[in-house]
Amino acid sequence: VLLPLTVAAIVASALFPAGRREWALSLGEQPTRYTALSFNTSWALPDIDAFGAPIPISFEISNQEGRPTRYQYVLSETDGIVTRRLGAAARLVASGGKWTVSTIVRPTCPGPVCHIEVHLPGHPETIEFVVNLYAAPPRS
């Protein structure tokens, strides 16, 4: 008696979306949703540079959210007191897709230690590197 009842209950539960969702949670692995943000040449980021000198950087936004997502990045510099926006852009990234950004920044922080930061508004992910600035030699 119990076996047919059990089978009937299982079949009946699979007929409803809520039941199917519960079975999916019980039988399979649900993907974890996240966004990854990283520098592409992270081992070659400069730690010292001249004030206002160009620094080429490249970073990547990887969409693992399980759906197309519109990302906006904001590139900024700060010495801990003053923050200045260096650039920003937005793009729709397909699910599982990546957006590689290559740009050049010219750090002009008032202080000697300058944090160059990339963050994604609406997402907690942030990456940054620190560059110690020295005054550029005067042009002859």
Binding site: Y34, A36, S38, S42, W43, E125, I127, F129, V130
Partner: protein, 795 residues
């Protein structure tokens, strides 16, 4: 078997009509042709699936498992070699024999095939060939020495109690799998709790109906309950989860990637364990599943037999009731389901230990047969797990000394049954002596010393343990089973910090720490689970729930120790009990207790091996002693009530130690099998974001050697994640992230626990210590180059 309460003190029971303790008997040819035809067809399908790589979801793995494990075990089980043994015992011998044949067969192929031009002897083709040869050999053996399979008659005469228990056990396994998936998917613990409740109900009915349920069905029920408990832990996470298993999995991948096993690939004690290198490689070739699931599922399917062996061993001398109690104490011990699923090499080794103990105590076999099987089982232990072998040899050595004492003139005067050769007390004497111990020690020397050069760690551990005994550390061992010492973790961490700061100041390679205040690392206490509705209701009624949980756990530990001592006294002191036993069984029991005592006295041994694991190994022998002790303690209440009280206490402990009670009430440390929180979750659970971070890092230059710092857990264990199998050597290391020990040039990988809660864990002197991690120190000194919300990488 007829009960004689005058002689056995009520610890043996009456055989019910129709019981078949022998399991099989006689030399009868197996009749019908169709099972053979079906079997050969399945062999052909298994060959086809493995050789073509054709994936048949679930069914393919089941056919592969049947081909490489189930059928060979069945064929060996149904030979006449194991005459006069129970079904559980036969399965134990047959399973371990097949595992040994697979390991040794793989090893022979590993060295024999390359000179013949086959560079990858553990690839699918040779492994399938080994399976075919094994099958043909065992068929021939069974044809030559057949035994009538008794299980068919057993199934035909299945009783209603038995069928209900089998259904309950199977439902427990199914619910355990579904519930664990739900916990993995953050869908709550309800189904897992029902699964645990189902195991409790199964065991209660097993005890209730112990007179009606035959040994074979009792064994199957215990197997299903064990499997449910093991899978609830092993299936956590989508990757391999746990402590030792991370490195175990890597050495398996090393063997699988090379298509051959070589200790030269990585001269490490783990790599010397064929149970986690050759055996899983063979399984993976034939099962056709993701290699992770070989580790997460199939090892548990094998290890779940161990409590059945404990039951069989207990049945050697005691009633079914005592046997069931012993098995419940074994599988209800916390290490069984929280640690053993993470130590696959030891899980396999325990099977061999169980088979060896069964052989030693089988008084129906000749001395030569017992010794032979003990030696073969010892070989299996050595090839499976080095530490278990050390403990086994030490146990046998001590047991031999105890046996000498029991054979002394004074002992013979005190124990007159020693003079009766037909009594079990004397019947099985001298299965092992100093010669047997020497042979097993030679096996350690030959394999761990000469063949793999990996036994040196044992000498080091022994030396540091003895030295540690005389050191004034002022720190109590956290592993003491017999003492209730507490560890001052703040002092441990403070000492560690001072040492780290001295290193930091002396070596310019580290990121300079200007003052201790720059890296505050206060100890963090892991909060217990919040009180549930039931827990709050109890608290409102004045019951201190947190204290209640602790008291029950503590009393479980202390009472089990008390019962073991009482059981031992009963064995030695009560004549009517003693004369049912073999002298060697008592000697082994005493030796096992001594070994546990040694782990208590030498804290460093506990740190290296784990005192709880030593107790789990000892339980293979002393579990019936524990069960008898519990009944003896309650003997004041009369025979019937002493059994009831003992059963109630055993089930009560099971409900507490498996986590059912703390989960229903709250107010206790979270258990990994039921929660997405707690110590093991923080340290060992591998999140997809962590895997993504490791994969991202693995492609970067300068990562290895010695270029990564990561928290204790999967990544530190996974020191080969950053290099290809062909480049693996012993030089790869992953440093700890303790702030004073971070080098300027290293990558620092922060895991889920640090990113989400700023908590890191460090392992000092065998103690896991949580501390608040000063992420600010990293931000000030390194670039944050990768972030995915669950993991961060600094450079």
């Amino acid at each position: 078997m007829i009960t004689d309460r005058r002689r056995d003190g009520g610890f043996r029971d009456a055989a019910e009509p129709g019981s078949n303790r022998e399991g099989m008997s006689g030399h009868h040819r197996v009749g019908a042709a169709w099972p053979g035809l079906a079997a050969w067809t399945l062999v052909a399908i298994a060959n086809f699936l493995a050789l073509t790589g054709f994936r048949l979801p679930f069914a393919g793995a089941a056919i592969g498992c049947w081909f490489l494990i189930v059928q060979p075990v069945y064929l060996l089980c149904t030979t006449a070699f194991w005459s006069r043994t129970s079904m559980a015992e036969r399965i134990g011998y047959s399973l371990t024999a097949v595992l040994l044949l697979l390991m040794v067969g793989g090893l022979v192929m590993n060295f024999a095939l390359p000179p013949l031009g086959l560079a990858r002897p553990l690839d699918t083709g040779p492994v399938v060939m080994l399976g075919d040869v094994l099958t043909a050999f065992l068929y021939a053996l069974r044809w030559r020495y057949p035994a009538r399979p008794g299980w068919r008659a057993g199934i035909r005469t299945l009783r209603w109690q038995e069928s209900r228990l089998l259904v309950l056990g199977a439902v427990s396994v199914a619910l355990a799998v579904l519930g664990t998936n739900r916990v993995n998917n953050n869908a709550g613990d309800l189904v897992s709790l029902i699964a645990l409740g189902s195991t409790v109900v199964t065991l209660i009915f097993l005890l209730r109906w112990h007179r009606s349920v035959r040994d074979g069905m009792t064994s199957v029920t215990l197997y299903l309950v064990s499997l449910a408990l093991l899978l609830m832990t092993s299936l956590r996470g989508s990757d391999v989860t746990g402590h030792d298993i991370q490195l175990e999995y890597r050495v398996f991948q090393l063997t699988a990637a090379h298509g051959r096993w070589s200790i030269a690939s990585l001269r490490d004690a783990y790599n010397a364990c064929l149970s986690i290198t050759v055996l899983p490689t063979e399984l993976q070739r034939v099962l056709g599943v993701d290699p992770v699931y070989v580790y997460k599922c199939f090892f548990e399917v094998l290890f779940a037999v161990c409590p059945v062996l404990v039951f069989a061993l207990s049945r050697r001398h005691w009633s079914r009731f005592v046997g069931i109690l012993a098995a419940i104490y074994f599988l209800g011990f916390p290490s069984f389901f929280t640690d053993m699923p993470f130590i696959n090499r030891q899980a396999i080794a325990f099977l061999f230990v169980g088979a060896g103990m069964l052989a030693i105590t089988n008084v129906r076999w000749s001395q030569a047969t017992r010794r032979l099987i003990l030696m073969v089982a010892g070989l299996g232990v050595e090839l499976s797990h080095y530490s278990t072998m050390y403990v086994l040899v030490a146990t046998l050595l001590i047991a031999w000394l105890v046996s000498l004492g029991l054979r002394s003139r004074r002992a013979r005067q005190l124990m007159p049954e020693s003079r009766t050769p037909s009594a079990p007390w004397a019947g099985s004497a001298r299965t092992f002596g100093i010669g047997s111990v020497a042979v097993l020690a030679c096996a350690i020397l030959a394999w761990g010393g000469l063949a793999t050069h990996t036994a040196g760690s044992a000498v080091t551990a022994a030396r540091t343990s003895v030295a540690g005994l005389f050191e004034q550390s002022g720190i109590a061992s956290p592993y003491s089973l017999l003492s209730g010492g507490t560890t001052n973790v703040s002092a441990l961490l403070s000492n560690y910090k001072q040492s780290a700061l001295r290193l930091n100041a002396a070596d310019g390679a580290y990121v300079h720490v200007t003052s201790p205040g720059e890296i505050p690392t206060p100890v963090v206490t892991v909060p217990p689970l919040p009180l549930t509705g039931v827990g709050r209701a109890l608290a409102d009624a004045g019951v201190p729930v947190t204290t209640l949980n602790s008291v029950v756990r503590q009393s479980a530990a202390k009472d089990e120790q008390l019962f073991v001592i009482v059981g031992l006294i009963a064995f030695l002191g009560v004549r009517r009990i003693r004369r049912q036993l073999s002298r060697e069984f008592v000697a082994l029991g005493v030796a096992s207790i001594v070994i546990v005592g040694v782990f208590t006295v030498f804290p460093n041994l506990s740190a290296d091996y784990g005192g709880l694991r030593a107790f789990q190994e000892a339980l293979i022998i002393i579990a019936p002693m524990l069960a008898v002790g519990s009944i003896t303690v309650f003997s004041l209440f009369g025979r019937r009530w002493s059994h009831r009280w003992a059963a109630a206490l055993c089930i009560g402990f099971f409900i507490s130690t498996t986590g059912l009670m703390p989960q229903i009430l709250g107010g206790y440390q979270a258990q990994l099998s039921l929660n997405n929180s707690g110590q093991y979750y923080d340290i060992y659970y591998q999140h997809p974001q962590e895997v993504a971070a490791v994969n991202w890092l693995s492609g970067k230059p300068g990562v290895l050697p010695a270029g990564v710092d990561a928290p204790l857990g999967p990544t530190t264990a996974d020191r080969f994640a950053f290099t290809g199998p062909s480049d693996v050597s012993g030089s790869q290391t992953v440093g700890d992230i303790y702030p004073a020990l971070i080098t300027r040039s290293s990558w620092v990988l922060l895991d889920y626990a640090v990113v989400r809660s700023d908590q890191a864990v460090i392992y000092i002197d065998g103690q896991l210590i949580y501390y608040r991690y000063p992420v600010r120190f990293l931000e000030d000194n390194k670039n944050l180059v990768y972030s995915n919300g669950g993991s961060e990488i600094f450079r």
